[in-house]
């Protein structure tokens, strides 16, 4: 990543910055931002992905903490600044990844169990009892699924020798990666603060969305000792100050799950504003205001952010498992392209999809269907279809899946999405962005800073310490880099959508039993 993004500031400008730590699934990063929300420096380090068994994914939390310290020092050095210039630190993190550690020594009792890990599938079915995966949905906004943290805690307690007893004696702390980083930053065993923020807590299956506190009934149903749980705080407030290290004495002032951080970084502060992050998979979040809206259309209800003691802002979230991953599949498994960017070249060599539809239900269908018995298919094949038509169908698959989520959001909330703000690697694909605009019939807008996740964490931290005065201040920083406007005939759009929906129906029930 860019090391030369330093820009020449006039020498008389005050050198004041916000540092954001992004503890992500594959790497930890630190980005230093200036007052205009521009990137001053970036440092990044990948960590090991540990796969002990099929379906299991773990991270070494000690390695992650070492990396976090290194990237913080690295980013400051590249920016040519020291801790005196840093007004606050913000944290954003991979969500749901679960860690238990010893409060006296700071040592993890087991590797962190990563959100993608499916070891708690059976446990979640068991926890559903006779109600099924919606048993805790009304309180938590979530289905009982293996991503979320609560059942992962239970798994660790049951499977790590002697852990249940240690937890019962109050020796063990639980945290998602935000808690782990904040606890260590603020002193670790020597007075570290044990907190999490509302957005991360809303992914545990243990927090009540309305009270924003741990739901005692669910906590005991899942079997989590209350003593392990961190205190739930807002997303933007000073939790404590860093002790030791490159940021000694700097306030630790924000925490947001990565997708919520991107929503914040995209300045989606008004009801009905939404963002979609196009990476390997895609996450679409829409601000629904201060009311939590229950989803009956297959979405997740989550906390978007909460600034200090202001009212919480909720969001509806829809996720697509396979988007960029489908392009990678075309490159790596099919060998039809040499680089991800070439998918656009191939797709543009034809006018349309030639009648082909590609539903990439490689690991079942996510929102809004949640069908694990579905598998991928390409429909509508004739002798006319070439690899270029398939490339079109690949890009259209991402656009149609976005449309399905937007439709579900409309159904649940009654709100119309007016503009879709996009970020992530796939935004460099112009044909895809145009498809999304056409299929949604709304403008698609790309902001000038693509690092919206880190930016969101920096914004929240900066608000907490008064570096920025209010959200209007932040809106002012937002810059439009590109905009795609819809230009598709409505009748054609409807016809194509019907074909897509028909193709989706045909993926379902491919597997006989949930397996």
């Amino acid at each position: 990543m860019p090391e030369a993004q330093q820009t020449q500031e006039p020498s008389d400008a005050p050198r004041e910055y916000i540092a954001a730590i992004d503890q992500g699934t594959t790497s930890s990063r630190c980005i230093v931002f200036d007052r205009d929300g521009r990137i001053v420096s970036v440092d990044q380090k990948e960590h090991e992905q540990i796969f002990p068994k099929p379906g299991w994914v773990e991270h070494d939390a000690a390695e992650i903490w070492t990396n976090v310290q290194e990237v913080v020092a690295g980013a400051l050095e590249k920016a040519g600044i020291t801790r005196e210039h840093v007004k606050a630190i913000g944290i954003t993190n991979q969500r749901e990844t679960t860690l238990l550690w010893d409060r006296a020594t700071g040592e993890p009792v087991h590797n962190a169990i990563v959100w993608q890990d499916t070891r708690t599938d059976a446990l979640c079915r068991e926890l559903g009892r006779n109600v099924g995966q919606d048993r805790f949905r009304r309180e938590t906004g979530l289905p009982l699924a293996s991503y979320f943290a609560g059942p992962k805690i239970r798994w660790l307690l049951e499977n790590v020798e002697g852990l249940q007893e240690r937890a019962d004696r109050g020796e063990i702390l639980f945290g998602t990666m935000d808690s782990w980083v904040i606890w260590n930053l603020t002193g670790g065993p020597d007075g570290g603060v044990h907190v999490t923020d509302v957005t991360n807590a809303s992914r545990t299956l243990l927090m009540n969305l309305r009270t924003l506190d741990w739901d005692q009934r669910i906590v005991s149903s899942i079997g989590v000792p209350p003593s392990v749980l961190p205190e739930i705080r807002s997303s933007a407030e000073v939790y404590g100050t860093a002790r030791g290290g490159a940021l000694d004495g700097v306030p630790v002032a924000s925490a947001l799950g990565d997708q919520q951080a991107a929503l914040f970084g995209q300045t989606c502060f008004a009801v009905g504003e939404g963002k979609s992050t196009y990476g390997t998979g895609t996450f679409l979040l829409m601000n629904t205001g201060t009311e939590a809206i229950n989803s009956y259309a297959g979405l997740i209800t989550t906390v978007g952010y909460r600034i200090g003691d202001q009212a919480p802002v909720y969001a509806l979230e829809g996720s697509i498992a396979i988007t960029g991953a489908l392009v990678q599949w075309m490159r790596d498994q099919m060998g039809l392209i040499n680089s991800a960017a070439e998918i656009e070249t191939l797709a543009r060599s034809v006018e349309d999809n030639g009648g082909a539809y590609f539903v990439p239900a490689f690991s079942g269908l996510f929102a809004p269907y949640w069908r694990s018995d579905a598998r991928g298919l390409i429909s509508g094949l004739t002798r006319y279809v070439t690899k270029a038509h398939i490339a079109r169908a690949v890009l259209e698959a991402t656009a149609w899946q976005t449309r399905e989520i937007v439709d579900a959001m409309k159904k649940d909330s009654g709100m119309e999405l007016t503009t879709l703000k996009v970020d992530g690697g796939m935004t460099s694909n112009n044909l895809l962005m145009q498809n999304i605009s056409d299929f949604l019939d709304v403008p698609v807008v790309r902001p000038m800073v693509s690092e919206t996740t880190c930016l969101g964490a920096a914004y929240a931290a900066g608000l907490a310490v008064g570096f920025w005065t209010d959200i209007e201040d932040l809106r002012h920083n937002w810059r439009r880099a590109a905009e795609w406007t819809p230009g598709m005939d409505a009748a054609e759009r409807d016809r194509e959508y019907q074909f897509w929906l028909k193709a989706v129906q045909r993926t379902m029930g491919w597997l006989d039993e949930e397996s």
Partner: protein
Amino acid sequence: MGRTIQSLERAAAVLRLLAGGERRLGLSDIASAIGLAKATTHGLLRTLQQEGFVEQDPGSGRYQLGAELLRLGNSYLDVHELRARALVWTDDLARASGEAAYVGVLHQRGVLIVHHVFRPDESRQVLEVGAMQPLHSTALGKVIAAFDPVAHNEVMEDELTAITERTVTDSGTFARNLELVRARGWASDVGETWDGVASVAAPIVDRRRMPVGAVGITGAVERMQIGSDLDPRLVAAVRDCARSVSRDLGAGRF
């Protein structure tokens, strides 16, 4: 059949051997397989290595085919790849300069816009990706014509049509201007394509210093100039961006 060059035949034999079943071979294996002395074979390999056609594994000392062969077989740079690589840098260029940023490549005797970043203000703007610009009057076009021999030939063959009153239409003057562009590494257009609009551009080059396109900014003359000269800070920002994208291309897949 005419006279052939022995060393080229021998080099071809080495390449064919390395392209065969066993991908990595030691010096003595290669020498004995093509029936040459080790010293001669080593000379061939060293030359091929310098050209990038052969690589030597630092650990084992064995030889294998080099990345350059892949490049020869697949030499043109995909414009969508170019956009993906340029994205971060051009965003920063637009923010730093306060003007719209563009990336262009040679296409059908003109400049094809492959990437466009809006000017960072609140104004309504339309994405210009896919638009064509003239080679002889725009900054992007002049950079491409100055650095890309194919574009240079094309622009010198064509008539230099007047687009505004300021467009240079005399081929002698134009050729001298291109020499200046080559010498200083950037080009400008002050009202030569659009009245009252100026632009600055610099070349994007790949690993072998071959020009693959140009990056530049375009804006009102009043903002782009200080007095009658282009703002040197804007020129520096454009050149920094071009260097960053070029560096990114050089550190590419090979």
